[in-house]
């Protein structure tokens, strides 16, 4: 089907000297921001509340109109487009989710495709496909939002944003309102999903750890959305531009580096023949492995392909390797 999930790949977003001034305020809310958000990447805007990160994001889909500057997506100046038409090409996910409570899940997800004139059968197929993609059972299509938990609702929110297969997604603290365990689940699922869909994603958060986890690149913002540093998570951890950025990283920078490193990217030792060793899934991070080692009092863990006791063992990880990884020697993140 042409409308398959990986249909439209991401497009590059470019902001040039984008400024937002509200009348009657001396300081601009956003001052002369310029940045390139490469196609297919997740760029996280991180900064304290009130720094203008959400304003910056909302200027991309023009829920807030910039006072000056230009914004292009895939080379097209978005300010020349009809705002409603423009927004139909941008997925939008917000912290409060904003599902339509009077509509069934299928109608929440299918609303935009229907308005775009898709046939009934195509909409139904798309809804089924998206529910599967975000890990919800197919029969949830007939439910109403209030019959879902918060985490499930946000999955629907993500599915709804992907419905018309937009090249660009804007996500404003999408997992901010969920409990830590659900948030971790949603983050992991979202990263898995993004590996499939390869959209260009602008992700706003005030949580630096979330930024490290989610971002291909991170823009650390000062007040008025002034960019303090814009780089990969690894580069920011290795060399924070200044004290402001360093204060965001906070304590435990080494552990945070380990949290960026997936076990699948680390060279594993062959599995020892002894039984009873703690097991960890290859999707987990080196930090998770270290945590397991400390918790179990073992300096070696088995890395498995999947959850469960009968999952295939891919190899083992030793404490020595973890320490090497912290020093930046192991793996190729």
């Amino acid at each position: 089907m042409p409308e398959s999930i990986t249909g439209r790949p991401g497009e590059t977003i470019e902001l040039t000297d984008v400024t937002k001034r509200y009348p009657g305020q001396a300081e601009p809310a956003v001052e002369a921001v310029s940045m390139v958000i490469p196609a297919g990447e997740v760029v996280v805007l991180v900064g304290p509340s009130g720094c203008g990160k959400t304003t910056t994001m909302k200027m991309i889909n023009r829920l807030i109109e910039p006072t000056s500057g230009t914004i292009t997506i895939g080379g097209t100046d978005v300010l020349t487009l009809d705002p409603d038409q423009h927004r139909r090409d941008i997925g939008y996910v917000i912290q409060q989710i904003g599902l339509f409570p009077h509509k069934r899940i299928e109608d929440n997800i299918g609303l935009l495709p229907k308005r775009l004139g898709w046939s009934r059968s195509r909409v139904r197929a798309r809804v089924a496909e998206l529910l599967e993609l975000v890990g919800l059972p197919a029969d949830y299509a007939r439910r109403y939002p209030r019959e879902l938990s918060g985490g499930q609702q946000q999955r629907v929110g993500v599915a709804r944003a992907l419905a018309a297969d937009p090249p660009v997604m804007l996500m404003d603290e999408p997992f901010g309102a969920t409990d830590p365990i659900t948030r971790d689940h949603l983050q992991n699922e979202f990263l898995r999903l993004q590996r499939e869909v390869r959209k260009t994603i602008v992700f706003v958060t005030h949580d630096f750890d979330e930024a490290l986890k989610m971002g291909d690149r991170i823009a650390v913002l000062r007040p008025r959305s002034v960019i303090a540093q814009y780089d990969t998570p690894e580069a920011i951890l290795a060399a924070p531009a200044d004290d402001y950025v360093a204060s965001f990283i906070g304590a435990g920078g080494q552990l945070k580096k380990l949290a960026l490193l997936r076990l699948r990217d680390v060279e594993l030792a062959p599995a020892p023949r002894v039984g009873g060793l703690p097991r960890i899934v290859v999707d987990a991070t080196v930090r998770d492995a270290l945590d397991l080692m400390l918790g179990e009092g073992s300096d070696v863990v088995l890395v498995t392909g999947d959850f469960g006791d009968d999952a295939e063992v891919l190899g083992s990880l030793h404490l020595q390797t973890v320490m090497g990884a912290a020093a930046g020697k192991a793996g190729n993140p």
Binding site: R87, R88, I94, Q96, F100, P101, L112, R115
Partner: protein, 215 residues
């Protein structure tokens, strides 16, 4: 003659009056819904206009019904028309006010999500705000109905239709044969009609409200 005998002998007139009473109330509520919901949709976004709409329709409700009906004789003559107009005027406040409140109190996140996916303001109003405000609006419709079903009785004073005729006939020759029975019939008829009407409206509310909004 006992009350029961009176009802038994005059049941055709009584049923007739009841149906007419129901008709004029339903007609007035229907017109008031169109005007009140329309007024609410036009004003809910501007706090001054919204306040103006509520105060004006609120002021209508304070006009004594006899005075309003009397004034309406000049343009509309006697009969059903002045009664209908007066009832519409009295029904406006609850419907208008509940429409404004209902539309204003829709979860801003829902509106933002709608705008963010490229729905126009008009589409957001019709597809999101109105259906979500509907239970509140309909609560206003029910209050309006209860208010005007009683006032409709006064309509008999300008030769309007309905159970008011029983009451006015009885009062006009109070002490005469069956006069008390007439007043009782009119009054009890209106009370029973009001109860049944509200029951029916509760059913309509249930049918017209999305299952996703029911608690």
């Amino acid at each position: 003659m006992t009350f029961a005998e009176y009802v038994r002998e005059n049941w055709i007139t009584i049923v007739n009056d009841t149906i007419l009473h129901f008709d004029v109330t339903l007609g007035a509520v229907a017109i008031a819904v169109v005007i009140g919901v329309g007024l609410g949709m036009l004003t809910y976004r501007h706090s001054t206009l919204a306040a103006l709409a509520t105060t004006t329709t609120g002021a209508f409700l304070t006009i004594p019904s006899v005075a309003l009906l009397g004034v309406l004789i000049a343009p509309f003559g006697l009969g059903v028309l002045p009664v209908l107009v007066a009832l519409v005027v009295y029904a406006l406040l609850p419907i208008t006010r509940n429409t404004i409140v209902g539309l204003q109190e829709v979860d801003p996140a829902v509106v933002e999500a709608g705008r963010g996916m490229g729905l126009s303001r008009t589409r957001v109003l019709w597809d999101l705000r109105l259906p979500l405000a509907w239970p509140v609006i309909f609560a206003g419709v029910r209050v309006s109905t209860q208010i005007i079903i009683g006032i409709a009785a006064i309509g008999a004073w300008v030769q309007g239709p309905g159970l008011g005729n029983q009451i006015f006939n009885g009062l006009g020759r109070f002490g005469g044969a069956n006069s008390l029975n007439q007043v009782l019939t009119g009054t009890l008829g209106i009370v029973v009609l009001a109860l049944l009407f509200d029951l029916a409206l509760a059913g309509v509310a249930r049918l017209t409200t999305s299952r996703g909004l029911r608690a």
